[in-house]
Amino acid sequence: MVDLTLGINTDLAREILTGFIKSEVTRIGMTHAVVGLSGGLDSALSCALAVEALGAGNVLAVRMPYKASSPDSLEHAQMLIDQLGVPCKTVEITDMVEPLFKLDPQITKMRMGNIMARERMIILFDQSEVFKGLVIGTSNKTEILLGYSTHYGDSASAMNPIGDLYKTQVRQLARAMNIPAPIIDKPPSADLWEGQTDENELGFTYDEVDKLLYLLVDQRYSPQEAVEAGFNEKFVGAVTARIRRNQFKRMQPPIAKISNRTIGYDFLYLRDWGT
């Protein structure tokens, strides 16, 4: 019987993930990192891992609120900044994104959310140059698989230490790393508009979907086998469709091959080439 508790050895996860950050930053001769702190759990964990890997003074936490962002988000980010003792910067995005919103009265919430996520990406990569630090990713395995992110927005980073941890595993590791309880306990939210929560928007809970994803992805169950294991057929269908539909967000755009040697197909090197 497959164990669906998704329990992880948090000491070992911590050791491997901090080692990864340290290796990826230092092997190219750098020492610093930049993390966008939303006030939520994923970025809190990424930031704490980066601090453990590089030292508090070497990690810049950037808060990027919009006027409709929940006040709790700023406050929770501050709690973490105080606890970790990292240098921080707050860059309001309201004045940057509002002019774009005003250009089109037909603009939707979804488009506004995507614009905000991409504006934050611009700021983080700009701060990356100022602080001479690599941007640490904050996307977990659940949202990467479900495509619950903005392409080239929150999904953009220089490296991602938590992208192979499901949301429920992120919570376990966050507890082990003493992330403040209000951050761990609040409902996950992209905080792009008031009252938004991930679980409302997705239509299921992370506890449910993580178990299903673990069977489908890690344990290689077929959708039919997942139904036989007790998951609702409609739920399994919706999740498998979502995984497939969002493959594009997990890849570099395909290059049309016409030469004998083409980047991505037969020009193959790791990023760590030569280091």
């Binding site: 990864f20 037969d266 193959l268 790791l270 990023r271 760590d272 280091t275």
Partner: protein, 283 residues
Amino acid sequence: MKLNLALAQINTKLGDVEANLAKHMDYIKQARAEKTDLLVFPELSLTGYVLQDLVASVAHQPTEDDPVFKHLLKASRDLDLVAGFVDEDSRHRFYIASAYLSGGKVLHVHHKVYLPTYGLFDEGRFFAWGDSIRAFDTRFGRVGMLICEDFWHASPPYLLWLDGADIMLFSSASPGRGLNDKEKLESARWVERVTKAYASMFTSFVAHANRVGYEDGLHFWGGATLFDPNGEEIAIGPYNEEALIFAQMDLNQLRRTRARLPLLRDERTNLVQKELNRILSRG
């Protein structure tokens, strides 16, 4: 007879043979200072692991005039060495290889016979498959070498055993995977379980050198081991950090264990051959 073994659990620079050679020379110096008889480096210790299109540019030949091997061969006058590299044959086929150097000479080169090409692995795309599994004589007795996936299959260690190897030297660049709530990664537990089992079943010494460090998101876990002919753990290296692990093999243990447990004496190779012939002839 005692053999002072050292296992070099190193990180490598991907595709930078010169830098990796310098690290080998440094570890050789440390091992020599501890009066080591035999120093074993991990799989592809001179090149790094996920080479992809770097394969041709990092290939070397274990000869005296090779710019890398001339240094290692010279060092092998003081202590025996096993190093991992990309071997290019005269017809430009590239192999994942381990060379055993002793007294300034190459005693044996093993080409990896099982190239994992599934899951996260893509070795069969970039390398040629080795086609022999041979034990060879050293000043410590008969030795056999295998590389990573080679010993995930039961037949290569078995063949080495029948070919006279009493000391098996395994080397790996094993990416860690399978984190759950257990103390160790699934991949680490699996490798430790089978290497211990080979030592027990073949009443032989089994040493394993695995590398550490990262290549992109892959992480190599280390945990070098030495098991004696009773299957007892003589040494285990730390996880996830570079280390030079020293361990002594009391080669007289082979005699004591096999006097108690004559598995080698009783092995019915003719029966194995007969049944293999029958199984394979079924077509």
